[in-house]
């Protein structure tokens, strides 16, 4: 019984230490961080249009599209597709995505389409594309927005985040930031 009494009291004390004091300390530290620990938002005309780190759905042809998402960019229920490469349904789905992409982007060959535009991310909330995943969409956007492709390529260049310290990891482009900058550069024609 002595063991259980010791266990019980120690448990209560450690709950205070690990589950109350420790998270409170981090809550305090988070107040000093960008976004005050509540998630960094991006705004336009004073209205919050999204979270910097979270991908969102872009389907309209005038925007750079994000990756496919198994949860349709539901930021309250993240998940991947969990489809196996051998699954015939999955293979058909990827083929259909490719067909759709080629239809929306006339003139683009299958070999130019990066696989990320046809595959769902792990979280369903991937905010990024690789530079190639963006550049392959430039011709479509240029045509629909009536802006020179060269200008768009410069924009993509400017929005590309290079690897960490220029050395480690992949280069990437945040699709939400890119599309916000795109609206600045070449506003949607009404």
């Amino acid at each position: 019984m002595k063991l259980f009494r010791q266990s019980l009291i120690l448990t209560l004390l450690l709950i205070v230490l690990c589950s109350v004091l420790y998270p409170l300390a981090i809550l305090g530290i988070a107040r000093l961080a960008p976004g005050a620990g509540e998630g960094q938002t991006l705004s336009r005309h004073g209205r919050v249009v999204g979270y910097a780190r979270l991908g969102q759905r872009f389907q309209r042809p005038e925007y750079f599209h994000s990756r496919p998402s198994a949860v349709d960019y539901n930021a309250a229920g993240s998940a991947g597709s969990n489809k196996a490469p051998s699954n015939p349904e999955y293979q058909a789905l990827v083929r259909a995505r490719l067909d759709t992409f080629l239809r929306q982007n006339p003139g683009v060959q299958a070999a130019e389409v990066p696989a990320e535009l046809l595959t769902a991310s792990g979280s369903g909330l991937d905010p990024d594309l690789s530079p190639r995943g963006v550049l392959v969409q430039v011709a479509r956007i240029a045509r629909l927005r009536g802006v020179e492709a060269e200008k768009l390529r410069a924009l993509v260049q400017q929005q590309t985040e290079s690897p960490l310290l220029g050395l480690l990891g992949p280069a990437r482009v945040n699709v939400l930031r890119l599309n916000l900058a795109l609206d600045e550069l070449a506003p949607l024609r009404r």
Partner: protein, 565 residues
């Protein structure tokens, strides 16, 4: 790709460089020597005094296990009660419901045993209260339990004859105050400054650029993620775990989080060397583990970076590798590295979805958990390795015709029997569980169609992976498995309990039995255990026991899928 490879190479080197001094520190902490964290002594003394504990009282190995099991029982009752009633308790801004009895059983057991298999999704299946005071609490104390058990073994392997193996509470409390909490403060601080939220506010709402209404789950994520990785727990705050952009927002945080799950398992191997004053033995064990790790990592890197064969007929650009279930900010290399390190280390957190990995990579992840001794979870990894080591000592002794000895103690029938039983328990739990589930599924494939997300060999792999993950106390999954059903909740819970406590009891008992034996002075006739030859011997034993036991099952699952692709 070069920058991606460079990223993980730098990470691994950094982890080894930091693990050596941390190992020295851990050895000093458990021996009660002076360290720079001695300013925490008053806090620890307060904990001991209020709990009525005398941290100087010496315990035998049986008393250690009794203390360990008692406090674990208290945690189980506490965790189950809160998860089962969380819907009615405070700190639930999103109004999430209570867990069903079988789900609460599964969740309580799974976090109690440091596994963190999750049959619920963080955003909807837990409340801020249970995330903090149940799940995160267990992430601290169960990691400390494993480390404390290892400290008992360190104490027992010191070369002397004794029954007095230190005090369990002393090892346990110090694991938290001197190791886990300081490291968590560091990692959580880095995370909040890198964009991981940490708040008690509920969901946020906004209207997206295209006009969709978006609800964004948040919470005390950074605090949670820090101990999730450092304690080799792996249970995510969010459903998508380390793939979620709020849990793991950048390539940099990905490096930090990978480091966080490598560091303690690395460091305790070196701690063994410092504690026993046999640094060569520490390096031998670390080297053996690293060779095993690289053997699993190699094929995984190859298949994940070469793209999916299923997509090659479409002729699309797969230069960045197979990307289903992966995040662009990490890329294929860092995803493969995390996945293999997290499965061999029994973290079980994921930053890509293993269910969508190429079949051979999935087999490597499963093999890592089937072996379960390359680095391994906080404390328990070295305990598992010790089991293989004892068997290797025994076999090597027989081969060269010498009495098997380890660290100056004769290894005799009782120790070898325990080691073999523990080594065989693991395949038994995995294969028996998978066999039962497969049998059930085949009797009612229509009624149980919700179980499997993928047909054929891969469906079998999903079931095999789940039991493997449970028996290895890993916690990752082929998440296509529809696992929140009474069968999975209950059966996985049973496997988890057996696979946690027996592999702790076994090695502690072996060490306790060795400790009381007479010391045999080392001589020219002693079989040396800190050499390259012996490392090869251990790898051979691991290969024979683990790999051969599981090869038939892996053939039916991932290998069949690989050759059919």
């Amino acid at each position: 790709m070069t920058s991606q490879y460079l990223g993980v190479a730098v990470l691994f080197a950094f982890a080894v460089l930091t693990a050596v001094p941390l190992g020295r520190y851990i050895a000093r902490v458990f021996q009660g020597q002076r360290t720079w964290t001695d300013f925490l002594a008053p806090l620890e003394n307060l904990l001991y005094r209020l709990s009525g504990i005398d941290p100087a009282k010496q315990m035998s190995w049986k008393q250690h296990l009794l203390a360990l099991l008692s406090i674990n029982l208290v945690w189980f009752v506490y965790a189950f009660a809160l998860l089962f009633t969380q819907g009615a308790l405070p700190l639930n801004p999103d109004g999430n419901p209570s867990q069903s009895a079988d789900l609460a059983w599964n969740t309580a057991v799974s976090f109690l045993v440091n596994c963190n298999i999750q049959h619920y999704s963080g955003e909807t299946g837990a409340t801020y209260l249970t995330q903090l005071v149940v799940l995160m609490f267990l992430q601290f104390v169960t990691a400390a339990t494993g480390i404390a058990a290892l400290a008992v073994v360190f104490e027992a392997l010191r070369q002397r004859t004794t029954e007095q193996l230190g005090n369990f509470w002393f090892f346990f409390v110090r694991s938290i105050t001197r190791l886990l909490l300081p490291l968590c403060l560091l990692v959580a601080t880095i995370l909040v400054f890198s964009g991981t939220p940490n708040t008690l506010q509920g969901k946020a709402q906004c209207i997206s650029v295209e006009g969709d209404t978006v609800n964004v789950s948040r919470g005390p994520v950074a605090a949670f993620v820090a101990i999730k990785e450092l304690g080799t727990n792996g249970g995510g705050f969010m459903g998508a775990n380390g793939a979620h952009p709020l849990e793991n927002p950048t390539y940099f945080t990905n490096l930090v989080e990978t480091w966080a799950h490598l560091i303690i398992p690395f460091a305790v191997v070196f701690a063994l060397g410092f504690y026993l004053q046999r640094r060569r033995l520490g390096w031998m064990i670390f080297g053996t583990m690293t060779v095993g790790f690289l053997m699993l990592l190699g094929p995984t890197l190859y298949y994940e970076t070469h793209g999916s064969p299923a997509l090659s007929s479409l002729g699309v650009d797969q230069s960045l590798g197979a990307l289903e279930g992966k995040e662009i900010r990490f890329g294929a290399v860092a995803s493969a590295f995390w996945g293999i390190s997290s499965t061999i280390i029994s973290v079980g957190s994921v930053n890509s979805m293993h269910d969508s990995w190429m079949p051979v990579s999935g087999a490597m992840a499963q093999l890592g958990m089937m072996i379960n001794a390359f680095y391994g979870g906080c404390g328990v990894g070295v305990l598992n390795f010790l089991v293989y080591l004892i068997i290797a000592v025994f076999i090597a002794g027989l081969m060269v015709g010498r009495t098997p000895e380890f660290l100056g103690k004769k290894v005799e029938a009782a120790e070898v029997k325990i080691a073999i039983l523990i080594a065989l328990l693991h395949p038994f739990l995995i294969l028996a569980g998978t066999a039962l589930a497969t049998y059930g599924y085949n009797h009612d494939p229509a009624g149980l169609s919700g179980w499997l997300a993928n047909p054929g060999a891969h469906g079998f792999s999903e079931m095999l992976y789940e039991y493997t993950s449970a028996a290895a106390n890993n916690g990752s999954g082929f998440e296509g498995l529809g696992d929140n059903t009474p069968w999975w909740n209950v059966s996985i819970g049973v496997v988890l309990l057996l696979a946690r406590y027996l592999p702790i009891i076994g090695p502690v008992a072996i060490a306790g039995l060795l400790a009381r034996k007479k010391l045999v002075p080392e001589s020219a006739g002693t079989l040396r255990t800190d050499t390259g030859t012996f490392a090869v011997m251990i790898l051979a034993v691991i290969w024979i026991i683990a790999a051969l036991a599981f090869f038939p099952a892996l053939t039916l699952g991932p290998l069949a899928e690989h050759f059919a692709l």
